[in-house]
Amino acid sequence: MTGRRVFIGLMVVLGAMYVEAIREVFFVAPVERVMGIVQKIFYFHVSAAMTFFLAFVVCAVGSVAYLVTRKARWDALAAASAEVGVLMCAMVLLTGPLWAWPVWGTPWVWDDPQLMLTLGVFLVYTSYLLARSLLGGDAAGRRLAAVLGILGALAIPFIHYAVQLWGGHHPRVMRGEGGGLDPTMRRVFALCVVSFLGLYGLLLWTRMRLFLDEARLRVLQNRVETEVA
């Protein structure tokens, strides 16, 4: 019961943080000189991007731990983290074009390294989730999912280098990030990052518990069925 209270408490705090983050993004942070109001999307866009990288690293860690220990909670951690990561990744892929259309003049380009990296990573982990859901929850499926989680993390640096080598035509200044961030912008951005990491943690917790409850329910179900038979 205390777990539930802590959870609700954290949810309230996080909700307040998001309200404050949105307020600061629009009313405290200065409007960017060149890109104007469109740049505001960057606060959530980049925060979500940082979160999905963390989520996929956690997925790989959970996968390794599952293969070594074969404990269900590590598998649940990997699966839950990948789900939240794909959600964040989808958010990055949605907010990116919203920003790029007015700033670059086109919603999508095939030669921007970061965009291609995000797309590649999105495909890797969407296929991971798809495989998980189609394989079912048996042990062989969980082992394969763990292998996919590890290979996915190994693929990320290669996709990164490949798209770096491929692109390299895009003006860096246009990306709206880097060292020259206004101090107020930086503070608001930090609040957004912390809010997103908090959201990630909370969703991860909920989803993991759901996974473990589902597994427990399956065990009970099997027991009832065998006892009835």
Binding site: L134, L135, L154
Partner: protein
Amino acid sequence: MQQLGVLLWKDLRLELRSREVVYTSVFFALLVTVISGFAFLRHAGAGEKVAPGILWIALTFSGTLGMNRTFGREREDGCLQGVLLAPVPRPAVFLGKLVANFVFMATAAAAMMPLVALFFEPRLFAHGGGIGLCLALGTLGFAAVGTLLSAGLSKARLRHVLLPIVMYPLTLPAVISGVMATTSILAPGPDAAAQARAWLVLLGGYDVVFLAAAIFLFDPLVRE
């Protein structure tokens, strides 16, 4: 090493008798090439632009087709269980399958490269060595990931559907660097040669990392 040879020879002999993987892969590659021809080439002269892409699409698509059969044969009558229970180190089992897959894919690639060259880009012949190296490296990376994943999928109900779905995103870096290396090799100038080298290094690095990971992960993947 000797055990690896025995396992490999078993798969190669099975294939030599039935020729089902090589025949279907080569014919499938031909179909992909012809469909690409109809899809991309209404005007003469576009061939050189799309040839590297067509080559790699044909390689990856036909590769998955053969890969699906790797453990297909073993599944019948519990052969896989038998092979895994034999007193043979797991890496040898994996490498036997991997080399067999590599040989099948390489055969298909060797058959379709002249085809793509004749249809779209005769200059592929002139750069045969470089393109061959590209295809060999790409095939190795593909075979490493594909063999591992098809081992994991061998008992899954939807394995035929799932293999390409999980394999293509993971082999994306190999495909990107393969296509780009091929394109750079065909392009003239020292700049392009340096580019080609950079892409080949990336492709080689992918092979090393994923081959090592696959050898390492095979045992935990198949161990109950």
